[in-house]
Symmetry: C2
């Protein structure tokens, strides 16, 4: 699902990951839980997420402030799932915190 | 394919799009050509791209400067393909120009 653009400046967290091919236990449930939880966080604007057949995924979440991003990073349930992701589900992952300077939409 | 992180600050362009289900003529060839061409551009650092089975795609390209992003935006071949994308291949697309403030990698 694509979401609308937001007034600038705001912040985007770009999370790229490669899933392990072999260990999916609990992944879908945890991913769903994180999506529900993130929507409740103060300063959360929206999220767009895609995973390809080759295991590469990109998730971009949008936020009103860096403080909101930091609070989400420190959320106990998020911390727990992040640790599990690193130890179990992901071969590799990268998080980039960015400031959105401008945006254009078409269609 | 995931790429390495780069020293901050640098810039990321987040391009999200939804493909039309019905009109794919010329798309793969054009996408391939754009990937080749973007790699030749001054200031280009790398790109990560995923498209899901539902037609949603996220492509993130990384750049040393906003000037480099602007030059790519104005590249004649890129302009031509962008117009074709809007008129033919994409139902909807959004471009967000962002400044990468920090990044973390794992694995």
């Amino acid at each position: 699902m694509m979401i609308d653009t937001f007034p600038v400046p705001h912040f985007a967290v770009v999370f790229t990951s490669i899933r392990r091919p072999d260990d999916a236990e609990g992944y879908e449930q945890a991913a769903q839980r994180m999506l529900e939880l993130v929507r409740e966080q103060p300063g959360f604007l929206g999220v767009e997420s895609v995973r390809g057949d080759d295991g590469l995924g990109i998730t971009v979440s949008y936020w009103t402030s860096e403080a909101a991003i930091h609070a989400w990073k420190e959320h106990p349930q998020h911390r727990e799932i992040r640790e599990r992701g690193r130890s179990t589900w992901y071969q590799r992952c990268t998080t980039r915190v960015t400031r959105v300077e401008r945006s254009y939409s078409y269609g």
